[in-house]
Symmetry: C2
Subunit: 241 residues, 2 copies
DNA sequence: CGGCAATTTGAAGACGCTCAAGCAATGTGG
DNA sequence: CCACATTGCTTGAGCGTCTTCAAATTGCCG
């Protein structure tokens, strides 16, 4: 890893800082963090950062690109459990048993910052702000998962698809991208797996929402034509299962 | 809170220690933890430890009894996201936004140990073992949630029910109770909500498994007649949805 | 002991799945 | 550079699982 890469990867210079590290650290603290995050890694589309069973050593902040995580059960079944975009942190499933429990796979050519976890714990002792932040990031993942369970357990197909699109929209917006006009990085099958639906159902739902004039779908390109109405459909629709 | 209650609540005396705190702390460290966990609280059946929107101040270790957590969406819908038994820790959803995102409700008269979270963070700085443990407990929750998503997204009704029963069984066993013979603390409706099914479906599935001779169900009393076969049904059955 | 909650069971219907075919876009090798 | 294979997506038809609605029974809390 060249010196130039090291400079590039400095957290103190990163435009994702506010998403990744939540709030202001002092300059001295930031330079401590810089020394912690010393490696940046390129992951080609389709490649994994880690796989289920790999020894856990670090967590990863997405610098560029897009990832999915996927769990596999004993039999062949697998399910997408999350998508990650720049500024989001993945790999925390590995902490509990020092072993990862899912695969983290790049959906496009991507880059991640590698954060050695035990060093992070050490630094957290010196910087209470950092410790608090770590706890919040972990807790946010727990809250997100709870929302996911809610979706999988209580929503019908159309609602799940809408919730998925609105969630993406909001995350793009938080990154300064258009909220109502974006490209999907994942296939219909991956969306289906994530939402607990078959890919045909996802496709049909897209078509249906398009007929209603709520959406424009052209391959991977999505345009939300009436986000307000979509939101209403989420909170008003039938009680589901 | 009387002195006697304080003595009773000492972590150093607690028989759930190994489940709640994972591994050995020194005596000095244990007494630090004792001074942290200074309050024990009784929660009557049906009462909440905290509710969605409550300010987050502490996490809670179940000392005695049984709890569910439940999230509510804007519309009336609600879903059980977890059940907790003695030795398990709940409330970590509140860390991220200093606010709880679910209700924690006692399914029977219960007792919890209250662990003030910011004091826990402070102590973690002094006891690295404690910090590691906290991180593991949080991570375990993340892993558990991923398994839950897998279940909700990829399993059919019968499999979900079986997975639920086997999970309970295993947790009872870990506490020294019979693995194949236990009482459900929750209603069919709560089980259904947790599993993303209607209560009628849960009931029918119980009946069906009983006809097959795999289970004996008498109201809340469950007896697993062939745990091995049940396990097989989980890993071999159809690909589901 | 009464009233209400929880559970069981049946019958009918809906939603999403399975299977299948066709098409478009992309990539590969001759 | 074109033929061919591959992958991803759409759409249709039929079917199965789980839900919905309904009623009867049981058990428990006050």
């Amino acid at each position: 890893m060249t010196e130039i890469t090291k400079l590039q990867s400095a957290c103190s210079q990163c435009n994702l800082q506010e998403l990744c590290l939540p709030i202001g650290l002092s300059e001295a603290e930031l330079s401590l963090v810089d020394s912690l995050v010393d490696e940046r890694r390129k992951i080609a589309r389709g490649e994994a950062i880690f796989r289920s069973g790999d020894r856990f050593t670090a967590i990863y902040a997405v610098k560029l690109g897009f990832f999915k995580t996927e769990v596999l059960s004993e039999d062949g079944r697998h399910q997408v459990t999350s998508f990650y975009m720049p500024g989001e942190v993945l790999g925390m499933d590995g902490i509990s048993a020092e072993t990862h429990h899912c695969d983290a796979i790049a959906l496009e050519d991507s880059e991640v910052c590698l954060i050695p976890f035990h060093e992070l714990e050490t630094i957290s002792v010196k910087i209470p702000t950092m410790q608090r932040h770590l706890h919040r990031v972990m807790s946010r993942e727990i809250v997100r998962d709870q929302g996911m369970m809610m979706m999988l357990g209580a929503m019908r197909a159309e609602e799940r698809v809408i919730a998925f699109l609105l969630n993406l929209s909001q995350r793009y917006a938080a990154r300064g991208y258009a909220a109502a006009d974006f490209n999907l990085r994942m296939t219909r099958e991956e969306i289906g797996s994530y939402l607990g639906l078959k890919l045909e159902t996802v496709s049909r739902t897209f078509s249906h929402l398009q007929e209603e004039g709520l959406l424009q779908v052209e391959k991977k390109h999505i345009r939300l034509m009436d986000a307000a109405k979509l939101k209403k459909m989420l909170s008003q629709e039938g009680i589901g299962r």
